[in-house]
């Protein structure tokens, strides 16, 4: 995954970059499957490797497929800042519990209740769905509203593709028989 990430940054051909992004998402999904987080893996595969690639390609059709190379001075200060930030993030992960540690705080408070009681309380076997939709239904409602807000923002900024429609209505009727 690190190799793919470095390649995404270095390669100038945007089409190759988009394909590599899809590969990166697929690798991330495989990692989630290995960690037994199947729902997350499905989401990553559908969003990262599916819809993102299609939207990026649609955007690529509007622009050029080569990145403009700008000669910039390599700033030493920026490198120092990035290294310090990365070091701080890695230092922060040292305090986190080991993967699979049964004594981790996340596994001692609510998780036992979810894993042991949810099938009786909700009546469906998939615990992830019951947690998402029932125990924290309000959060999921918030997520749905966030998705709707994204669509509203895009419509406000770049319109809703209505220009094509007006052009289509001006075309002669019967032009649709040519495409089949």
């Amino acid at each position: 995954m690190a190799l793919v990430a470095v390649a995404v940054v270095r390669i100038r051909n945007l089409f190759a970059v988009i394909m590599l992004t899809g590969i990166y998402s697929l690798l991330a999904a495989s990692l989630f499957v290995m960690l037994d987080a199947v729902d997350v893996a499905l989401t990553e595969a559908a969003v990262g490797a599916g819809i993102m690639i299609i939207l990026m390609l649609a955007t690529l059709a509007l622009t050029t497929s080569e990145e403009k190379v700008r000669i910039t001075r390599q700033s030493l200060l920026a490198l120092v800042v990035v290294v310090i930030t990365g070091g701080a993030l890695i230092y922060g992960t040292l305090d986190m519990p080991q993967v699979g540690d049964p004594q981790a705080p996340a596994h001692t408070h609510l998780a036992p209740h979810f894993t042991q009681q949810s099938v009786e309380e909700i009546g469906i076997p998939n615990m992830v769905t019951s947690v998402l939709a029932s125990y924290r239904g309000l959060d999921t409602l918030g997520e749905a509203v966030v998705v709707l807000t994204a669509a509203v923002a895009v419509i406000l900024v770049i319109g809703s593709g209505r220009a094509r429609q007006r052009k289509r209505r001006q075309k002669k009727p019967g032009s649709r028989e040519s495409r089949s």
Binding site: I54, A61, I122, S134, L148, I155, R164, R176
Partner: protein, 139 residues
């Protein structure tokens, strides 16, 4: 893309399968991985592929942008509607137990309902984004 006959035939075969798989993930999310969000994304991906192969005009005849925008809001309203129905039946907001006499059946009904709302919203929003990008002319 009208002259790519192999692409056209393969897409014609694939798109129904993609859409059926999306519906399977939508309504089988209680037993297997997945739910409304993933199902909406997969459905819209299938539809966008259709639009890329057969042209944007044909796709916009099938689902016009206005309908997509309406459905995006309708999904959220469906979600909120389930929450309000719980209040009217004497529970708390999004407390599905009160929907039916049996607690488990009520919870399951509520989850299926809100997942449907999420799925409709996500699919319609993804379509709206695609229309917004694809409807622009090259400048």
């Amino acid at each position: 893309m009208k002259h790519h006959i192999v692409l056209r035939i393969v897409t014609k075969i694939m798109i129904p399968l993609i859409v059926i798989y999306a519906l399977y993930i939508q309504f089988h999310g209680e037993y297997s991985p997945g739910g409304g969000f993933q199902a909406g994304i997969i459905f819209s991906a299938g539809f966008i592929i259709f639009s890329l192969i057969f042209g944007l005009d044909v796709a916009q005849d099938a689902i016009p942008p206005e309908v997509a925008r309406f459905l995006a809001a309708f999904g959220v309203l469906l979600y909120i509607g389930f929450g309000l129905a719980c209040i009217l039946l004497g529970g708390q907001f999004l407390e599905y137990k009160v929907l039916l006499a049996n607690d488990q059946a009520g919870e399951t009904l509520g989850i299926i309902g809100i997942e449907l709302g999420v799925g409709i919203t996500v699919a319609a929003v993804a379509l709206t984004l695609f229309y917004a990008f694809a409807g622009r002319e090259r400048e």
